[in-house]
């Protein structure tokens, strides 16, 4: 019995050990993960972010080095703190705070002592680095903007946030992501794909060599440069013209749908959002709720379209065959569209307007009648309204246009259902909703939609989805940007409307927009608008609006201009549009007197009324 004691004990032990090893090595995979976590470092190799050029090949966005001061706390020896603080422009307390944080993170692994040091500070710092053992400088790449304008188009990049990390497994903490504008839409194109190298770490978190001799490593995929469709000179010019005014300009090339400019004022220089002061600047821009720097008026601003909308009603009426171009309506400086309901007009009493005159005189009476004929066709307002809605929808109204910029608004076009809910018992007709006739009712449009309408009329019936990107280094732009989108209006109906729009400049409301030698077609708008001041609905000075394209035959540019509270269309918007057309088509502006008036004109006083807390008068 005693002789068996030893062998049994040993067998017992061997079995226990075998079970233990089996459970450690085979059953549990927790240790494998733990091992990778504490001994293998994934280090990423980032391709340089792609550049952006304008349509003429001018460099808009490139990269610049920024410098991070790194520290390995264990190697730090006593140093001249005052000297370092001065060079970094931080206080002594902040420095010791940051040092403590770095120590807490790791004694032997490097951490960032101070990030985003500019080139200038770096130059000074670099000479003195020998004085600060345990510290070194690490180069980083950030954006460098070669232009002072177009911040609303280009957008910006910023560090990934918690949401990005949750939703997109590509990113890890501390990486940069396109946050707004083209940087966001074309994030994948501009960033390329990071490569990864696996490194072996030791117990002190130090890297001691490649992991598995780099067999698992991948190379980065280079980023691609992007050529934008915008003309940066035009963008700059537009920004200058809108100085001290709130508003937006959006210009397109009708033949391609390429966006030539997209101005929103007031604006900011894109370089403000680079470097150490980024967050300060961003906060300032974000907190100004009156100027709304981060609000893109050309893409997001939803305005009642006003008179430019009349041309759409004309087109729908022609298509629906409820008028002929020769049909006339008489205007008595307005008309009664229902009992005791008078709609005023700028026409002299007794003016007889056909389609052409209706457009260039911007006759409310004419379009009120046209609109009522559309809606009340077949004595069925709901059917008429939905037909009207369908036609407008084909112009891309009431919906996102599908352009390649992350911001935007759909605008609004009402349909029969909307009014059925609004007026119970379905007791509504054309006359009930007659404000839509002159673009003042429930309709909302953004400048890009207005510009697109101008481009569609210029093209006589179709448009390309507007887009900001003309070309990608070694890739094609999306096919949807090269596909024609036809409206539901037949081509022949555009001819009389275009004629009317040409006369707006020749003898109508926008004679100031005439350019010698170029036949411009346009339509002014003067838009009533309201705001709430201390809870009271208050009318403000009208918005000045203009849509146009030029030249009349084979148009090269179509655009929409809105100047908030600029009063009538011919006052600000039409001149600004014509200056842009002149600049774009001829390369120089001869009407310097007009240019001067626009550039120097300011509406600051007008905007100050709202916040003045005093009664004020409008439209003066």
């Amino acid at each position: 019995m005693r002789a068996r004691f030893f062998p049994i004990l040993i067998g017992f032990f061997a079995v226990i050990m075998l079970v233990r090893l089996f459970s450690l090595q085979i059953l549990s995979d927790e240790y494998d993960d733990l091992s990778l976590k504490n001994s293998v470092l994934k280090q990423y190799v980032y391709p340089e972010r792609g550049y952006m050029f304008d349509r003429n090949g001018k460099l808009l966005v490139s990269n610049q080095p920024m410098y991070d001061l790194m520290v390995v706390p264990k190697n730090v020896l006593p140093f001249d703190t005052l000297n370092l603080c001065e060079m970094l422009r931080i206080s002594k307390d902040e420095l010791s705070d940051r040092l403590t944080k770095a120590k807490r993170y790791s004694l032997r692994a490097p951490s960032v002592l101070l990030g985003q040091i500019s080139k200038q500070d770096y130059a000074a710092l670099q000479e003195k680095m020998w004085k600060f053992p345990g510290m070194y400088i690490q180069r980083k790449s950030v954006r460098a903007y070669q232009t002072e304008v177009a911040s609303n188009i280009l957008g910006y990049i910023s560090e990934v946030n918690y949401f990005d990390l949750e939703t997109n497994p590509y990113y890890i903490r501390g990486e940069l992501i396109g946050r707004q504008g083209i940087e966001k839409t074309y994030e994948k194109t501009l960033r390329g794909k990071k490569g990864v190298s696996y490194l072996q770490r030791d117990k002190f978190n130090r890297v001691i060599g490649p992991y598995k001799d780099g067999q698992l490593d991948t190379l980065p995929t280079p980023a691609q440069d992007i050529t934008l469709s915008i003309d940066i000179d035009l963008q700059e010019y537009g920004t200058r013209l809108l100085a001290n005014k709130r508003g937006g300009i959006l210009a397109l090339e009708p033949a391609t749908g390429e966006i030539l400019m997209s101005v929103s004022t007031p604006t900011y220089a894109p370089n403000l959002l680079v470097g150490r002061e980024r967050s300060t600047h961003f906060r300032e821009l974000k907190q100004d709720t009156l100027s709304r720097y981060l609000f893109d008026r050309s893409l997001q601003g939803q305005y009642a379209p006003g008179s430019p909308f009349k041309v759409l009603n004309a087109l729908v009426a022609l298509e629906e065959n409820v008028i002929r171009p020769s049909a006339t309506f008489m205007c008595f400086s307005g008309h009664y569209y229902a009992r005791n309901q008078f709609m005023a007009c700028m026409c002299k009493p007794g003016t007889v307007n056909n389609l052409n005159r209706g457009i260039y005189n911007s006759c409310n009476t004419y379009f009120s009648n046209v609109y009522r004929r559309i809606i009340d066709k077949n004595n069925n307002a709901a059917e008429g309204m939905n037909t009207w809605y369908k036609h407008l929808h084909s112009f891309g109204l009431g919906n996102y246009l599908g352009y390649d910029h992350p911001v935007g608004q759909p605008g609004y076009v009402p349909n029969a259902n909307f009014y059925n809910l609004w007026y119970p018992n379905q007791r509504w007709r054309g006359a009930t909703t007659v404000s839509n006739a002159i673009g003042q009712g429930e309709i909302l449009m953004t400048p890009i939609q207005l510009a697109n309408v101008a481009a569609t009329i210029a093209n006589r019936g179709f448009f390309y989805t507007p887009h900001f990107v003309k070309g990608i280094q070694s890739d094609n732009i999306e096919p949807k940007y090269t596909t024609k989108r036809y409206t539901s209006i037949s081509e022949e109906h555009f001819t009389p409307v275009v004629e009317g729009m040409a006369n707006v400049i020749k003898k109508g409301t926008a004679r100031i927009a005439g350019i010698p030698g170029i036949e411009v077609c346009g339509k002014t708008g003067t838009i009533e608008n309201f705001t709430k001041i201390n809870g009271v609905r208050t009318q403000l000075t009208d918005h000045s609006m203009f849509i146009a394209f030029a030249p009349k035959e084979n148009p090269k540019i179509a655009l929409a201009v809105i100047v908030e509270n600029g009063y009538w269309g011919g006052r600000w918007a039409a001149p600004i549009a014509s200056l842009i057309i002149e600049k774009y088509l001829t390369g120089e502006v001869k009407r310097t007197w007009l240019e001067k008036r626009m550039v120097e004109g300011s509406l600051i006083d007008e905007y100050a009324k709202v916040t003045s807390n005093k009664p004020f008068s409008i439209n003066e």
Binding site: F6, I10, M17, L24, L34, S35, V40
Partner: protein, 413 residues
């Protein structure tokens, strides 16, 4: 049977294979791709020890078994003197005064004492007048084990002390009254229960069991056994209290922590639990077939402390996986079983007890070391025989093996 075939080649083969596996893993444990000279120097030192070990084994084969039996007491005395001499001439390394430093070499007398204690025990039990069941004789055996155990415990080197006490297993195998083993097991269980549940509940449980047993005894009318049962219960309660007293008052915090971590009462992977956590990560991440030689990330990163010595098995676990670990475990088991088989073929008590002593020493080392690195027993510094880096340990086990081989050879002579 010719002279050549009578030699126990198999044990020598197992020994050599284990040493070679050890060498390869020591190299990996200290390997640094930038500077291979460190690993090479470790290798060289261990190779020298291996060479010396083989040479010693060879030399020992020229001595008769009788020689070792006759001088066992002298060797024992010498090793006790060696252990005592540490107080005067010893060098303190990482808190323990266990080494003599002569020139560039250091020598650990406690390693060699294992051999001499095995010899002395064998001689003691092998004496024709010794009866292990007699109190005088087993107390003598306890003394032989106890003296070096105490001397190493105060160095302090509890791991080695445990090896000396582990020779208790031979005494049991040789017929020591079962009372001692039962008592030991009971006390061990009480010890663990006290740490887990606290004094109060263990005392209550002991008293309840005693009452139950006494009730059972009175029914069967065996009243004679009541008094010893009561005495046992009292001793157990006293033991429980002393365990709790020793644990709380005599142990240092680090000892308490080691137990607490093992019993799952405390989780601390950065401080005291770092070793055990890292060694489990290393072994566990090896999975079935391991990460490959010199490819272990934990080994390369130096996450496991003392990896080339006490924690050498973590390298095997990480780089060779379950397969490698299994092979090492198998080799050790085979070697120990082989020695025991030979032991029971011996015709004299001296040779049998010596062989059992060798097997016992190996077993205690291997079981405690593997138990420690895999997180089954508390952290106790004890090398893995034949594989861990360290000249004294390898040489001591070579001498152990040498004498054993001589005995095995002479058995049929």
């Amino acid at each position: 049977m010719n002279k050549f075939a009578r030699f126990d080649w198999f044990s020598l083969f197992l020994y050599s294979v284990l040493v070679v596996i050890g060498l390869a893993n020591i190299y990996s444990a200290v390997y640094n791709a930038d500077d291979t000279s460190i690993a090479t120097s470790y290798m060289q030192k261990q190779l020298i020890s291996f060479g010396l070990g083989i040479a010693l084994i060879f030399i020992i084969q020229f001595f008769d078994t009788k020689f070792f039996e006759r001088y066992a007491s002298i060797f024992y005395m010498l090793s006790i003197v060696g252990l005592l001499g540490l107080w005067v001439l010893g060098t303190e390394v990482s808190g323990a005064r266990s080494w003599y430093t002569i020139g560039g070499f250091s020598l650990q007398p406690s390693e060699f004492a294992k051999v001499t204690v095995a010899l002395a025990l064998a001689k003691h039990l092998g004496d024709f007048s010794t009866r292990i069941t007699k109190m005088k004789d087993y107390l003598g055996a306890f003394l032989i084990m106890g003296i070096p155990a105490v001397l190493t415990l105060v160095q302090p080197d509890p791991g080695t002390a445990l090896v000396f006490l582990g020779f208790f297993l031979i005494l049991h195998a040789e017929g020591l009254p079962s009372f001692f083993l039962i008592a030991l097991v009971c006390l061990f269980v009480l010890f663990i229960l006290t740490l887990l549940l606290g004094v109060y509940w263990v005392t209550v449980a002991v008293i309840l069991l005693a009452i139950l047993y006494i009730a059972l005894l009175s029914k069967r009318k065996r009243k004679k056994a009541i008094v010893p049962t009561l005495l046992t219960a009292i001793v157990f309660c006293g033991f429980t209290y002393s365990v709790s007293y020793i644990f709380d008052s005599v142990f240092e915090q680090r000892h308490r922590d080691r137990f607490n971590i093992l019993l799952g009462k405390e989780v601390d992977t950065q401080g005291i639990g770092y070793n055990i956590n890292q060694s489990q990560i290393a072994i566990g991440s090896g999975r079935f077939s391991g990460k490959g030689y010199l490819e272990g990330t934990q080994t390369k990163g130096g996450f496991v402390p003392e990896q080339q010595t006490d924690y050498i098995f973590t390298t095997v676990g990480e780089e060779w996986g379950f397969v490698g670990s299994f092979v090492v475990l198998l080799l050790f088991t085979l070697l120990i079983l082989r020695i025991i088989r030979i032991a029971y073929k011996q015709k004299t008590t001296f040779t049998r007890v010596y062989c059992l002593g060798f097997a016992c020493a190996l077993f205690v080392h291997v079981s405690i070391n593997l138990g420690m690195v895999s997180g089954l027993v508390p952290t106790i510094g004890i090398p893995l025989p034949l594989m861990s880096y360290g000249g004294s340990s390898l040489l001591a086990f070579s001498i152990f093996l040498g004498i054993y081989l001589r005995i095995a050879y002479q058995r049929t002579a």
